[in-house]
């Protein structure tokens, strides 16, 4: 059997160029100083313990949707921060700034498109994730607490959708928010007060836009990050549920 002898000419190159130095600089620059940190803190063995955890044999495609949702969340956080660079949360300028992002800012259409589609697909993936957990009975003791946290996260995704929908400040978002805020008004006793609070007055206006914006970009993300950490910690602690 003939083997491919790469090492021979790799060694030749290594002798002529300071490959080690180049690689060190590369890791220093690109790998978040990984090499230098590893040298001092022995990150490799620590990371291997975390990342090389074996998963059970029965894992299949349907177990991936929690991960897909997380990926979409990361995309949404990233593109959301980029959109914040241009968005203006006032009723005079909100719509104009959205048009500005889409039409004038280089790659603005792409950033906004990613935010829009990732947000929409996230609702689907989170639902599939939930159905998988339900039909596998993975919500049962001892994972029942994680199910509760998961349901809260699902509601958070919907709240993100609801608050984010108002931000472009066009006709659709205005009326969707008006309708959404009217729904609690049928609740007994507290209903009209909840509607009043959600609308920030008698009709959806600047106050509602400012508050929805604050919820969408500051309050909900931090609650989500907190609950998500709990969610992941519990998954790690309890492991993945057994096969059907």
């Amino acid at each position: 059997m003939k083997y491919i002898n790469l090492n021979k000419w790799l060694e030749k190159i290594e002798k002529s160029v300071n490959v080690r130095g180049v690689i060190n600089w590369f890791t220093l620059a690109t790998g978040f100083l990984y090499g230098e940190f590893d040298d001092r803190l022995d990150l490799r063995s620590a990371l291997q313990k975390v990342l090389k955890k074996p998963v059970p044999k029965h894992i299949n495609f349907w177990f991936c949707f929690g991960g897909f949702t997380f990926l979409l969340l990361v995309i949404n956080i990233f593109t959301g921060i980029l959109l914040l660079m241009y968005y203006r949360p006032t009723i005079d300028q909100a719509y104009d700034s959205i048009v500005h992002i889409t039409n004038n800012v280089p790659f603005g259409w792409l950033v906004r498109g990613f935010h829009h589609w990732a947000a929409n697909i996230m609702v689907i993936t989170v639902l599939i994730h939930m159905l998988r957990i339900y039909f596998h009975g993975a919500y049962k003791h001892p994972r029942d607490m994680n199910w509760v946290v998961g349901v809260c996260l699902f509601l958070l995704v919907l709240s993100f959708g609801f608050t984010g929908y108002l931000l472009p400040w066009n006709q659709v978002s205005f009326w969707a928010t008006t309708i959404g805020a009217e729904i609690p008004s049928t609740f007994p006793v507290a209903g009209p007060y909840i509607t009043y609070l959600l609308k920030g007055g008698d009709s959806v206006g600047q106050l509602a836009l400012t508050r929805f914006f604050a919820f969408h970009v500051v309050i909900l993300p931090w609650i989500t990050i907190g609950l998500l950490s709990l969610h992941f910690l519990m998954v790690r602690r309890l492991g993945i549920s057994g096969p059907l």
């Binding site: 083997y3 491919i4 002898n5 790469l6 090492n7 021979k8 690109t30 980029l82 660079m85 241009y86 203006r88 300028q93 104009d96 700034s97 048009v99 500005h100 039409n103 004038n104 800012v105 280089p106 790659f107 603005g108 792409l110 950033v111």
Partner: protein, 145 residues
């Protein structure tokens, strides 16, 4: 001296491809991200009220110069030593109208809306005249907005 087996070779090939893919993605998204964030003539002004100015020599008699005001296209026309500044966004469906010097008309290429030098509708489907901007001559500089 160790020899490389087929398995190791495939392993490092796949790893190299993944590395190249990640690097390409990183480079391309940094490029897009930097382009997105970098202030330009179009983006720095933003959607609010804005001004534009240029030397008069850039605008010959009878011609039109395109500028951006608040990120939106506007045209400055010099005709009979007078200056006219109009929005170039057709009020019908938002196409960019063009200046026809021989007819002294602004005509929309999409559905044939016709405007005169003051923006008034002369024909076609546009429901409203073109909005105009304030334009002044300050020394040798044309100031719009």
């Amino acid at each position: 001296m160790e020899e490389i087996t087929r398995k190791d070779f495939l392993h490092s090939t796949v790893n190299t491809l993944i590395g190249l893919w990640v690097t390409a993605t990183a480079v391309l998204s940094s490029y897009a991200g930097l382009r997105y964030l970098w202030p330009t003539e179009k983006t720095a002004g933003g959607p609010g009220g804005n001004k534009a100015s240029f030397p008069l020599t850039e605008l010959p008699e009878g011609d039109m110069k395109k500028v951006l005001i608040g990120g939106k296209p506007a045209g400055i026309i010099r005709l009979n030593k007078d200056l006219y500044a109009l929005s170039l966004i057709c009020t019908h469906l938002g196409c960019i109208v063009s200046w026809h010097p021989e007819e002294k008309r602004l005509i929309c290429p999409c559905h044939g809306g016709v405007y005169d030098i003051n923006g008034a509708v002369l024909g076609g489907p546009p429901p409203r005249p073109l909005p105009s901007y304030e334009v002044r001559l300050r020394g040798d500089t044309v100031v719009v907005g």
